[in-house]
């Protein structure tokens, strides 16, 4: 089956005063129709840059796609002109941003912010659009939608605003929804509701979803496949079960260990991944995770690991997964 979204060797750079920052360093991803994929990683790993590069939403300069491309339903989005891209944005691909407090225009009624998308993409009858907006508000679980349409963002709670964001993203019935940390800025109970809503929409509408998150615990039960990103590269992919149950990369193991679990006893502490992600301006050679890696070997400081294929759609970029790793164990740093 042809994938709906295909990211091929995507490279994104930021020109900064300190030098060129390599935010995304050659990632490959495929999302099939109706599939949900989660792109997971710490803040600063390049996952948002990758997601926003799909629609070329990053301000350029400083951001630049230096290599590779994004294909949507066979069309090369990266090669499209700004005008052509505008027709895809909001119509074929919907986008939900992280912070619903700042992502809605504070001086425009939320109803108009939804209607606007539909107007832009073809339906010029705003009476019809309003009825449709009412319908979508109901769909995303906004109570009392008729009244909400004429309210301003500041009159709504954080969770409500994120639902409005979802309504904007869904207004034109997109085939792909990109949700960039949709639950980070809302509190935990709302978090669950938003995830429930996304899952529901994906199932009912057969929509593809690219979920960007730093929270592995959100992934279970939502995405069939997971890609873990670190320092601008995808370092591990697999089905959610594979990645959660038998993580192959030490970083993934670290992320999993830092999730609060019910069976953890109160006296046990959560184990965070020590250190910080590297800033990818003139990075040293070797694996970017090496300074934080509990299992680093001699070679990790010298050469960045390539991809090792563990199975169908199961790839890891780590020397430990290399067939010869077992023999070189004594070489540990």
């Amino acid at each position: 089956m042809q994938p709906l979204l295909k990211i091929e060797d995507l490279n994104v750079q930021f020109e900064t005063r300190a030098g060129v920052l390599q935010a995304v360093r050659g990632i490959n991803l495929e999302i099939g129709p109706g599939e949900a994929l989660a792109l997971v990683g710490e803040s600063g790993c390049g996952k948002s840059a990758a997601a926003q590069s799909v629609l070329k939403l990053l301000p350029s300069p400083p951001a630049r796609i230096t290599r590779g491309g994004v294909f949507f339903a066979g069309e090369n989005l990266t090669a499209m002109s700004e005008k052509e891209l505008q027709r895809v944005r909001g119509r074929d691909i919907g986008f939900i941003f992280q912070d619903p407090m700042t992502s809605l225009n504070p001086t425009m009624k939320v109803g108009r912010q939804v209607v606007e998308v539909m107007y832009r993409h073809g339906e010029k009858d705003n009476k019809k659009n309003r009825e449709r907006a009412l319908e979508i508000f109901g769909l995303v679980g906004i109570s009392n939608p008729g009244r909400r349409l004429d309210q301003y963002p500041h009159q709504l709670s954080g969770g409500m605003r994120q639902r409005v964001m979802a309504a904007i993203a869904l207004a034109c019935g997109p085939r792909l929804l990109i949700a960039d940390e949709p639950t980070t800025a809302v509190d935990v109970t709302i978090q669950a509701q938003i995830m429930e809503l996304l899952r529901d929409l994906q199932k009912k509408r057969g929509m593809s979803v690219l979920l960007i998150t730093h929270d592995l615990s959100l992934v279970a039960g939502f995405a069939r496949r997971v890609a873990v990103m670190y320092a601008g590269k995808i370092i591990e992919t697999g089905t959610a079960e594979e990645v959660m149950n038998s993580p192959a990369h030490p970083y993934t193991r670290g992320l999993l260990a830092s999730i609060p679990r019910l069976e953890v006893r109160p006296e046990e502490r959560l184990a965070p991944v020590p250190g910080r992600p590297p800033v990818m301006i003139n990075p040293p050679p070797g694996c970017p995770f090496r300074p934080r890696c509990p299992e680093a070997m001699y070679i990790c400081a010298k050469i960045e690991p390539g991809e090792t294929i563990l199975g169908q759609g199961r790839i890891v970029s780590c020397w430990l997964a290399h067939p010869m790793a077992a023999e070189s164990r004594p070489e540990r740093l």
Binding site: G90, N105, P106, T107, M108, E116
Partner: protein, 309 residues
């Protein structure tokens, strides 16, 4: 709303009283008086003049009399002109205000366009051009600009009358001269606030909706970026509508502006106080209107006493 307006009126009256009192004290502590420039007037004449204008009364009585008259909206007779202060204002203000309205319109239109263009094309030639123009507007004094305009449009091209007040042709040059500085100021204000708005997350949302740059600019950025300009507009309208000494003198326009300077030179006590009161009331009124405009621009802003949803 009614309570809010009432409270504003009370605070404005209080401020006005403070302004009158301060002006009164400062005015009388400056050496000389309205008639000290009358050379060699016989003492009897001086005595009569002082009695006629009640300058022999103790200060507190003059002060109270003034306040009482003011409460009846009577600003008293001018000491130098053969007219009352009320007459001077009601004759001069319409001229200055007409001119000011043209000038503020030019400043607002040109300033907003320049500022938006500069922000939209940041660090490109449009930005550099707009900001160079703004620097010029800031640094060229209005009497130089007036002279230059006169030379070009009246003397060389002979398109416009060089001075005096009459039809719209008379308003063009003085309005341009008056608007240079506020245009520059609004352009810079608009540029910086526009740049800030364009960084906002909701602009990215608008882009993700597939809106065209023009739609983003007009529907999402412009209104939000106008707030600082609205703030500046209150004092600007008050200052420009009450006339400019320099421009009105250069173009021989019978406005209000020159009286602000001449009244002080003449120690024309009633005119000084009258103009001060008029300016203060006008300024406070403009600021009040600006506060109302805010509410229209930003629905998050509610009047202090406006409770409930």
């Amino acid at each position: 709303m009614a309570r809010y307006v009432l409270r504003r009126i009370v605070t404005m009256s209080l401020a006005l009283w403070l302004i009158i009192t301060a002006t009164f004290v400062i005015m009388h502590s400056v050496p000389g008086g309205p008639f000290s420039s009358e050379k060699n007037a016989p003492p009897a004449v001086m005595q009569n003049l002082n009695a006629r204008y009640r300058l022999n009364d103790p200060y507190w009585k003059q002060y109270l009399d003034y306040l009482l008259n003011m409460a009846r909206l009577d600003l008293g007779p001018s000491f130098k002109y053969d007219r009352s202060v009320n007459e001077i204002i009601s004759q001069g203000f319409p001229v200055s205000a007409q001119l000011g309205a043209v000038a503020v319109s030019i400043a607002l239109g040109a300033g907003v366009i320049l500022g938006v263009a500069a922000a939209w094309k940041q660090n490109r030639w449009q930005d550099y051009t707009a900001m160079s123009l703004a620097a010029l507007g800031f640094s060229v004094p209005s009497f130089i600009l007036s002279g230059l305009l006169m030379y070009i449009f009246a003397y060389k091209l002979m398109w416009l009358p060089p001075a005096m007040w009459g039809g719209w042709q008379h308003a063009v040059m003085p309005a341009l001269a008056l608007s240079a500085l506020p245009t520059a100021f609004i352009a810079r204000l608009m540029r910086s606030s526009m740049l800030e708005v364009l960084q906002q997350d909701y602009i990215k949302t608008a882009r993700a909706k597939g809106l065209s740059p023009a739609a983003i600019l007009v529907n999402h950025a412009l209104k939000n970026a106008l707030m600082p300009v609205a703030t500046y507009l209150g004092p600007l309208v008050a200052a420009v509508f009450t006339g400019s000494f320099v421009v009105e003198t250069v173009f021989a326009i019978p406005g209000l502006g020159r009286y602000f300077v001449i009244s002080v030179l003449n120690r024309d006590y009633t005119l000084i106080l009258g103009l001060t009161v008029f300016y203060a009331v006008f300024l406070m009124l403009m600021n009040f209107i600006v506060d109302l405009v805010y509410m229209f621009l930003d629905p998050r802003i509610k009047l202090a006493d406006d409770r409930g949803d």
